[in-house]
């Protein structure tokens, strides 16, 4: 276990391994995304109550699931970088923030579009939507804090603290928003039961959830590679890489 831990702390090793993972993971992910989307869009039956609009589920739910998981990835990476002073964890945390924000945005946007035919309105202050919105703010806060520092090392430490504070708060926010919604519920919106989802609709959904997890991993690795290059730009191995890449 320890050798791997040490290797993870080595930028050239991580850069190379991320590259070789991406070489096969990225095509597979894109293939899975296309397959899942086509399957969900064209080859499944429409839902009994919502009709065809339910097909948005194949991007909405995976994006929401991964957006939440992404915050934990970011916060855990932050914790590792604070506790063990591992610089590469810091890189992972910095890379995760914009990706997570983008996934949260996808979840919110597709949710709003889905709301129009289902509930008759673009936006509802429902518990889950509201906590997703707050999650979006938390992600943007981390991005904004990172950009505000000139000293990038301090920036990532500060972001690590902030994302840990956010992680402690996420369950509290989630529970309190849930409670708040129960207090104010207007009884105008009825959610259709989710457990009744048919297995023929379930398989493409599971595929899409897997694909979105893989996509998050890919984006994380892609961003980490750029970040590593930027941080290590003074070192010999990066210079060698640059001269090799620049040659036609």
């Amino acid at each position: 276990m320890w050798p791997i831990f040490h290797k993870l702390g080595s930028p050239p090793w991580l850069y190379a391994i991320a590259g070789s993972i991406l070489r096969w993971l990225l095509p597979i992910t894109l293939l899975a995304l296309v397959t899942g989307a086509v399957w969900g869009l064209l080859f499944t039956q429409p839902e009994r109550i919502q009709g065809n609009s339910y097909r948005i589920i194949y991007i909405h739910v995976p994006a929401a699931v991964v957006a939440l998981a992404g915050y934990y990835v970011m916060a855990l990476a932050g914790a590792v970088s604070l506790i063990w002073r591992m610089k590469m964890a810091d890189v992972a945390m910095k890379a995760a923030a914009p990706v997570g924000a983008a996934f949260t945005f996808i979840a919110l946007f597709t949710g709003a579009i889905w709301g129009k035919p289902t509930w008759g309105t673009w936006w509802v202050w429902d518990a889950r939507i509201t906590s997703m919105l707050i999650l979006f703010f938390l992600y943007l806060g981390v991005v904004a804090l990172y950009e505000a520092f000139d000293n990038k090392e301090a920036a990532s430490k500060a972001c690590a603290v902030l994302s840990l504070v956010g992680m402690v708060n996420i369950p509290i926010i989630y529970k309190s928003v849930d409670w708040w919604y129960a207090l104010h519920q207007g009884a105008t919106i009825k959610f259709t039961g989710e457990s009744s989802i048919d297995s023929s609709m379930m398989y493409p959904l599971l595929l899409m959830i897997g694909a979105f997890y893989a996509l998050f991993t890919c984006c994380l690795l892609l961003n980490m590679r750029v970040e590593i290059l930027q941080r290590e730009s003074r070192t010999q191995w990066v210079k060698k890489l640059a001269t090799k890449a620049g040659r036609p």
């Binding site: 080859f43 948005i56 990706v99 892609l222 001269t243």
Partner: protein, 67 residues
């Protein structure tokens, strides 16, 4: 395939105007997520390469001028 024709798939019984924009925005965001780091990586590498060439090209004269 569930739909009979391309037309039917695009319309989705009136829900196409919601489903297709949702998917296209998602595709756009994903494309942005994947392409931006690739472009940035190329840019960083090019900059470093140019820097190295400049440093190599005129070592004595430039070094004196910069410092």
């Amino acid at each position: 395939m569930y739909f009979d024709s391309l037309q039917a798939a695009l319309e989705m019984q009136g829900h196409g105007m919601f489903v297709w924009p949702a998917y296209s925005v998602t595709i756009a965001v994903i494309a942005l997520l994947v392409i931006t780091p690739l472009l940035r990586r190329r840019k960083v590498l090019r900059q470093l390469e140019a820097q190295a060439r400049r440093a190599q090209g005129a070592p004595a004269g430039r070094a004196g001028g910069e410092r």
